[in-house]
Homo-oligomer: 192 residues x 2
């Protein structure tokens, strides 16, 4: 804690906040892959063990720092668990359910806007999609990454047209009808 002006020992909330501030700075400056837990801990003047204590690791820290409204470590396995023959259906349902919640949508829109208008945010967003979504799926499914990305692209496009641009009739098509229309596409990409 060298360099702290106050002699008072910082409380857990202050320490957690200091780590988040440092994390936002380093993720923005170096991207997701370039920033390390050790470097962030050093910038926050805390022991790296505290980063693990508060955030479990780099990905949890990133989720907290970016204020991601859901943790992909919890969501992504939901898609890939269960019968392989229904993986398309599960992926469509998960995307629609998560994006259907207004509070999630508002925060994701803010993140998407940053990713589209700020080069540094683009880098961070790209590396995060690669690491947290695609790599996680690739570890479970024995298929080329480009097939996973094609499936993600289909869902990103649906989200853009349905929730961002709100193009009709897609914007008000019932979930069940969309699952029927889109799930076979995802199924073909992920379980060829």
């Amino acid at each position: 804690m060298a360099g702290r002006r106050s002699g008072r020992r910082p409380g857990p909330t202050e320490t957690r906040d200091a780590i988040l501030v440092a994390a936002r700075e380093l993720f923005a400056a170096k991207g997701y892959d370039g920033a390390s837990v050790r470097g962030i801990a050093r910038a926050a003047e805390v022991d790296p063990a505290l980063v693990h204590h508060f955030f479990k690791g780099k990905e949890g820290l990133f989720v907290a720092a970016m204020e991601f409204p859901v943790d992909p470590a919890e969501i992504v396995p939901l898609i890939f668990m269960g019968p392989p023959g229904e993986i398309g259906e599960r992926m469509v349902r998960t995307f629609l359910r998560v994006w259907g919640a207004p509070e999630f949508r508002d925060q994701m829109m803010a993140l998407l806007r940053s990713a589209m208008t700020n080069d540094q945010a683009t880098v961070v967003f790209r590396e995060f999609v690669s690491s947290a979504l695609v790599s996680r799926a690739a570890a479970t499914l024995d298929i080329p990454r480009v097939r996973i990305e094609a499936a993600v692209a289909q869902m990103v496009g649906i989200v853009m047209l349905r929730y961002v641009l709100r193009i009709e009739p897609l914007a008000s098509t019932p979930e069940e009808e969309l699952v029927e229309l889109i799930a076979p596409t995802i199924q073909r990409y992920l379980a060829p």
Copy 2:
């Protein structure tokens, strides 16, 4: 031309520019469907016939006002002409070819950014996609609009991941490989 302060008759360039300025204002204020050629002509203080003379009609005027780098009236029919059995392949190739050109990409990125960060631009973009792309396709293909929008969503997502976020390996996958992977999806949506 009532209200013009100068007695000098405006030249064709001035008239064209006045129409474009009025068009940008009215499209932003009222959206694509809400703005009329007549209303734009009135705001620009010109005869509506001049709007048709310079821009062929409302869509041409919109393309010019938004500085769209390509005219969907030229591009979209390319997809829907030719053998129906190859419609998926033609759509994927057309999107990749158009987005592969850096000057097109830069301008489309600027438009996409506006659509994502400005509510009025979102309205204009949405109505334009509906009118110029989806309605045009729906007039040729006898299928529900939501199927056309699912196909557009797939291509929008590919464009986002490949050209905006530049996620690997999708960003550097050769065109031929992507056509092979994505065309069957589009084919299924458009020619079920």
